[in-house]
Symmetry: C2
Subunit: 230 residues, 2 copies
């Protein structure tokens, strides 16, 4: 059916490998550090507020999250927290940066099946060095023609990527787990998108409304894309 | 003389615009915060030690520096610093991220003179979003064919860049202020490099030995490159 697809871009975090569960685990531990001042849900909301306030400055990625955790801790404790809690937050960040890479099911087989027939690229956001390190750890880099680490995933960012790849929207398919970042901006450009749900999503990436679009394919898992392309 | 040059890459920080003096100002203010525990020079050395310890994890850029300042503050004060000092460090970081862009002398005229005849690119390291924001603020983006924000500037990073640009080393000239990052790895690839000294350099970028190489041009300022290319 979709034989006009020439380039397939993959989101990385929670599409190729596990990511959000590690962030949630770190956030849970952060909320425990704040237990003297706030119940976990309220602590999590405070952190989210700090993240949203600073997103335009810090962008996405672990380093920004850790800076936001520290800012939240000083605010919520009203300056009364002991300094060893700051160290525990710094350690949470360094642990996150050192996490192993756990590939999601079907990823390697899917890339193996597609990489000779299509130009495969990664389109991901986050800290530059961290995303490069994860790709190296994943062992997947040889499947990809190009790695694009983006500061954001809005329509203009995808426009730049398509220009850079010299690829028409009609020949471009993006696969990812975030409706907001991987699907909607791609559909807005009249390119193609495949949604692969992941069991948990960062609040900031949530998109509640159901999306229907002739260029959108809903997949149960990454390997399903193969039969849609045949 | 060097009419085989087709692509000219520019370092950004302290080559196109002022950067290191802002970092040094922030570091001086950080050292003042530590005055109760250490004299300024020792505080600066402690920060440098933390930065070197964490460089493989955080990479280059403001967010990593701020995380290192916080870690240094907790260590040097042996956990006794008050939390408002942490807030002051976070504010230092946010101020750095909001600094205006001050172009160095001759930059705009040089780009104007070169951009029709050569393919101009930026090759810089640092935080992704921060470097993009500085470029936007600079108003220079239309002169450039491509912007490469690199996690590091070692030989392998330049090899990837040349491959990506489909450019032979013999046709590539890199201009920058850091002998370590902008000159030596480029010369190692048998490409061309032009060194434009800046009055102050981060300790980590210092290279004390004099470099002599047939592919190296020493420039007094950025505009000097024009006469070398004619």
């Amino acid at each position: 059916m979709r034989t006009h697809i020439k380039t397939i871009a993959f989101d990385a975090d929670d599409t190729l490998w596990v990511n959000e569960p590690y962030f949630q685990e770190a956030e849970n531990r952060f909320c425990e550090l704040l237990a003297a001042w706030l119940p976990p849900e309220a602590a999590s909301q405070e952190l989210f507020n700090t993240e949203m306030k600073n997103l335009h400055l810090y962008g996405y990625g672990i380093k920004g999250v850790i800076l936001c955790m520290i800012e939240t801790l000083t605010r919520v404790s009203n300056g009364t927290a002991q300094l060893h809690l700051i160290n525990q937050v710094l350690e949470l960040g360094q642990e996150l940066l050192n996490k192993p890479i756990e590939l999601l099911q079907g990823v390697e087989e899917t890339l193996e099946a597609l990489h000779r027939k299509y130009r495969l690229v990664i389109a991901t956001k986050g800290d530059l060095l961290d995303q490069e390190r994860k790709l190296t750890k994943s062992g997947l880099q040889d499947y990809f023609h190009h790695i694009e680490i983006m500061s954001n995933k809005q329509v203009t960012n995808y426009q730049k990527l398509l220009k850079h790849l010299d690829c028409s929207p009609a020949n471009f398919l993006m696969l990812g787990n975030s409706v907001k970042s991987d699907i909607l901006p791609v559909l807005a450009l009249e390119a193609f998108a495949g949604h692969i749900p992941f069991h948990t999503t960062w609040k900031h990436e949530l998109h509640e409304e159901k999306v229907e679009h002739p260029n959108l394919i809903s997949l149960n898992n990454i390997a399903d894309i193969i039969k849609h392309l045949d």
